[in-house]
């Protein structure tokens, strides 16, 4: 049976959700919050959806999407283009390679994985910036940045879990 137009639109929208959610958090990540001392330790928000979908739906959150979201991040944040593409790509790869271990293991294992990925992401960011500018960048904010990213996982990751559930939901009339 050929799917109807509505079903095809529905399917396309569902496939776009992981990419869109990461894009939304990349945008939210650069919104000025006007909070003192927050700037340097602001979390790598887009990393959370990238990590979650790399583990659960690597078919919908691909390498190229992670690359593109990094590019958007760099363009908006004023960083040299390519820095966060590289960071997100490598984090994606790390999460992707561990997905068999992480997927379906429950929330706390996933959260633990987030800590490792956030630490990797922040460390890579520091390394890439240091190489790019050929001098050592300040290391003080790194730990807080990674911890804040991890601390936001229950919120953002929880949202991803809900979205994931919605994606799997099918109206009864459409079931074969």
């Amino acid at each position: 049976m050929n799917p109807s137009l509505l079903q095809r639109i529905d399917r396309a929208l569902r496939s776009a959700v992981p990419g869109l959610s990461a894009l939304v958090f990349a945008l939210l990540g650069v919104v000025p919050l006007h909070l003192p001392v927050f700037g340097p330790i602001s979390p790598l928000l887009a990393l959370i959806p990238i990590y979650y979908w790399a583990v659960h739906r690597p078919d919908l959150m691909t390498f190229s999407l992670a690359f593109a979201i990094g590019l958007v991040h760099d363009a908006l944040a004023g960083a040299p283009l390519g820095v966060h593409s590289l960071v997100y790509l490598l984090c994606y790869w790390a999460a992707f390679s561990q997905r068999r271990f992480l997927a379906g293991k429950g929330f706390f294992v996933l959260w633990w994985g987030m800590l490792l990925i956030a630490a990797l992401g922040v460390g890579l960011e520091w390394l890439v910036f240091s190489v790019f500018y050929a001098r050592l960048m300040p290391v003080e904010p790194l730990a807080f940045r990674a911890l804040l990213t991890t601390a936001l996982f229950p919120l953002v990751g929880g949202l991803m879990i809900q979205i994931h559930r919605l994606m799997l939901f099918q109206p009864r009339s459409w079931r074969a």
Binding site: V30, G78, P80, G82, F132, P138
Partner: protein, 325 residues
């Protein structure tokens, strides 16, 4: 059946290979992009401007509630020490009123002396107020995106002021957005001078909250608390914009505390700065103040309210501030 399984296995192997290949390719692309950023900033800045322009409506919408929340948080925090704050402000206000009197007097004297000596100011300013719609969000980039662009007359190189002092400079202008490099960014270099001793120096950002001074002459006289202002050398910035105060030595570097709280900027003013057309400068050079008006301000006279108003405008760099779109 067996042939089919084999072809499926081959297909999976091929897919996995393509997957790895795309990963390697994208890694190379990222490194290539970074190298391109390092070599040819024009193309890269164009890409950046286009992306920022494209998402600016979203950022514009999202940054408003964020700013409101931040304001509410700040308001609640301030409620607790309102009384003490009020007493402090009243005392400060009394002191400032005296300074204002002195400033008016000096300004009037200055203006009448300028009229006497036929002094011609060599620049004038235009202002455009803009909203901050995105910030660098990270330890390694100190920059902002504004909701104004070339369509509003913004150009690369223009100075950006907060309410208290210099915040940075426009490094790239898209059609509807502009990017500002803050004075604390690793790449920021601003020619400055010490207001008291008139010694020149270069203000260098290093991604900390306090930039430092370099190229300060050996015989320079410097003390903690000295005010640092833009020198206008190099023709990039108007001279005399307030930057910060000297706070002390740190590992052999002279640190400056910027006047502006750079992590809380919500609105900024972009200063358009143009050399005055020599032939036309006599009447409009001083931000709309005519020579007749200046002549009317005698040093010993009590200042007329209208003149005070005009002078206040002139003191805050003249020109009429244009509203943000």
């Amino acid at each position: 059946m067996k042939a089919r399984t084999r072809s499926t296995v081959r297909l999976i192997a091929l897919k996995s290979w393509a997957h790895r290949f795309s990963f390697a390719l994208l890694l190379l692309a990222a490194v290539g992009l970074m190298m391109l950023t390092k070599i040819d900033t024009l193309v890269v800045e164009d890409v950046r401007a286009r992306v920022t322009d494209a998402v600016s409506p979203v950022l514009n919408a999202v940054s408003r509630p964020a700013a409101t929340v931040a304001t509410v948080v700040e308001d609640v925090r301030q409620l607790s020490d309102l009384r003490a704050e009020n007493a402090r402000l009243e005392a400060e206000n009394r002191a400032l009123l005296q300074y204002q009197e002195i400033a008016f007097r000096l300004e009037a004297e200055n203006l009448s002396l300028r009229a006497l000596t036929n002094y011609r100011p060599d620049y004038r300013h235009r202002f455009l107020t803009a909203r901050v719609i995105a910030d660098g969000a990270g330890a390694f980039v100190r920059s902002l995106a504004l909701n104004v662009g070339t369509a509003d007359g913004i150009e690369s190189g223009q100075a950006v002021l907060g309410g208290n002092g210099l915040a940075g400079r426009v490094v790239q202008a898209g059609e509807r957005t502009a990017r500002v490099l803050l004075i604390t960014d690793f790449n920021a270099r601003i020619p400055v001078l010490l207001e008291r001793s008139r010694d020149r120096a270069m203000l260098v950002g290093d991604n900390t909250d306090r930039p430092h001074l370099t190229y300060l002459g050996e015989e320079a006289s410097i003390a903690v608390g000295d005010r640092v202002v833009t020198s206008g050398h190099g023709g990039m910035f108007p001279p005399g914009l307030p930057v910060g105060t000297v706070v002390g030595l740190d590992n052999g570097l002279i640190r400056i505390q910027p006047f502006e709280q750079l992590d809380r900027l919500e609105f900024v003013r972009v200063v358009g700065f143009e050399p005055v057309d020599e032939t036309a400068s006599m009447q409009r050079g001083l931000g709309g103040l005519s020579f007749e008006a200046m002549g009317a301000v005698g040093v010993e006279q009590a200042p007329d309210p209208a003149v005070i108003e005009a002078l206040t405008r002139f003191i805050s760099f003249g020109g009429t501030p244009a509203a943000a779109p």
